[in-house]
Symmetry: C2
Subunit: 358 residues, 2 copies
């Protein structure tokens, strides 16, 4: 289908396109052009420091429904753990965690995407979901939460994952968390995000194909091998019955931390209730040690798991990555894909192991 | 060779290792761990805003030899264009451009690297070169220079490239420029950098293999095809006899600009004197329009060219990329490799085309 027919079809369907996915000719990677949250070019002009409002007064997530957000897609309550109600507006009080739609989504709901051509290029609708997971306390971010609360957050991730993966157009679900303005957080109030995509993101595609190639060559999981090695090594930071936390031999950024399940498991959402408790502990240990050692650094945290496109990914091993922001990516990082690491992962692990807990 | 033998060999050779290259098990990418510029872990603790000293008073590049840098590797003089002298200390005055060694190099000179094993991992010495190209004026960055001066800078890039590519351990030379603190510049005084590496950086390797695959499939150069298409398109910003400047259909960041030679040419360093004049114009046009339109934004600029490892890269097409920094990379970008673009490249091009020049 040509682009003009595509646009006509959209108009005919009354479809409001919030974004486009465009495929790079050289790499084959899909990029998101979010026309729905588009700004005019001149609005990008440099006009001094951006404000990062930390106060509770104008916080849009303190009482999301009062600041114009729709009713939650999922709520957990303070008084009764696990009790949750969907879609009942009047019950949005005493909440502990709530999931809402992002008002400025990178992708928007729509028909399953078809591919279209524009000259030599391929593109498609940016149809998908973009949700925000908000915890109640304005200041208590993950490192400062109780273990129970961290576990609840992880539980919410799983629940929303299981719901959205049923959508026939969703092929990948990406869960992430930005902490601190240097890590790209635009709202101070602690929140995580979830994006459900029709395509596999570039880095995920590469991670999958690397794992697959290794598996074909060595008949074993590359992540199992790494975890097996690291748990005995000087790069290990913490471990419990089900998870190993370590500073990887080849970090992408200074102070990077990875969390792997010991048992080979390709799908994050299939983690059991027991495993979830141990994962919450591992995550908290990693974040609290960073918080203490680096005095509340900004960081990005995300989960790399197998796609939900129905194909076989048994060779994959899900894991979480924490990337502290201690450095601005400059020409060398952007042009080569390589950050110059200035602190050895062996020293990072020792430093974080030595932080006093509790 | 085992890691312990490797270390012993190094000590025996009196070799001061400034960095290690470590290969990722999953992706095969090489990362730099710069132990020579290493900091202690606690020095990464968040301690308020970093200072970006813009004053001329303490500028280390105002008179590099007075601030402890060695004598230049190459000098161009103000009074006599093209006249240059290498290694004559007393002539370091009235300079217009000088190239010096980076005092905190990401890679350091040494023997050609051998690969070593540590458990399941592969690593090698970080041997290579890291140089800084400084222009004299403290405030006149590329967008504010005369065309002649921009051309001289490009000429210096070529000269250093041609010298370093002769080193038998150098397989890739990466030339880049960071402008503004948000783009990772740590020194205000305008300067470019050059890194000569024993390996091919991850992004370059991917760019090469994408171009190669396309060439094998379609029997034509993917970059020629793009340039051919874009020069007629609404994404074109500027063009002259030898170069096309455009906002790519699939940008990696907001406001990305690419500069391609019209003629298929794989090696940047082989650009002729005439072509260099046109390239300088294209580069200046791109940077000046950005400077005007976005009010001096921070940016990274780099050159992607074919490796100098002696293999055949006829299928490749060198080009320059300019990545303005209008956004902080957060969890989504770091975990998926995909920046959510908020301004359409078609609008970017129109906006930049409409800036008044001169």
């Amino acid at each position: 289908m040509k682009i003009s027919d595509f646009k006509k079809k959209q108009l005919r369907d009354g479809f409001k396109n919030v974004s486009e996915l465009r495929q790079d000719l050289v790499s084959g990677d899909w990029m998101v052009v979010a026309t729905g949250r588009a700004k005019r070019p001149h609005m990008f002009a440099k006009t001094g420091k951006k404000k990062f409002d930390q106060s509770i007064k104008d916080c849009p997530f303190e009482d999301p429904q009062k600041t114009g957000h729709e009713e939650p897609l999922l709520i957990y309550y303070e008084d009764s753990k696990r009790r949750k109600v969907k879609g009942i507006k009047k019950l949005v009080r005493d909440w502990s965690i709530q999931v809402i739609k992002n008002r400025f989504p990178a992708l928007g709901p729509g028909d399953c995407s078809e591919k279209y051509k524009e000259g030599p290029y391929t593109l498609m609708d940016g149809s998908g979901f973009h949700e925000i997971i908000i915890t109640r306390d304005h200041k208590k971010h993950l490192a400062l939460m109780s273990l129970d609360k961290v576990e609840e957050v992880v539980h919410v991730f799983q629940e929303r994952y299981l719901t959205l993966m049923e959508h026939r157009c969703v092929n990948y679900i990406f869960i992430f968390h930005n902490h601190g303005i240097e890590a790209g957080a635009t709202i101070f109030h602690p929140h995580s995000q979830l994006i459900a995509l029709p395509i596999l993101p570039a880095d995920v595609r590469r991670d999958l194909s690397g794992a697959k190639e290794y598996h074909e060559k060595h008949r074993k999981c590359v992540h199992c091998q790494m975890t097996e090695w690291e748990k005995e090594e000087r790069r290990c930071i913490f471990q419990n019955e089900h998870f190993v936390v370590f500073s990887p031999f080849v970090p992408r950024v200074n102070f990077e931390i990875r969390i792997y399940p010991r048992k080979h498991q390709s799908h994050f959402e299939k983690m059991s209730e027991v495993e979830r408790k141990y994962f919450a502990e591992a995550l908290w240990q990693a974040l609290f040690r960073l918080y203490k050692g680096l005095k509340d650094p900004a960081y990005n945290f995300f989960i790399h798991t197998a796609p939900c496109d129905g194909k076989n990914y048994d060779y994959y091993h899900w894991h979480a990555e924490i990337l502290p922001k201690t450095n601005i990516w400059a020409g060398i990082e952007l042009g080569t894909g390589v950050e110059v690491i200035m602190v050895k992962p062996e020293e990072v692990a020792k430093f974080l192991r030595n932080q006093k807990i509790g």
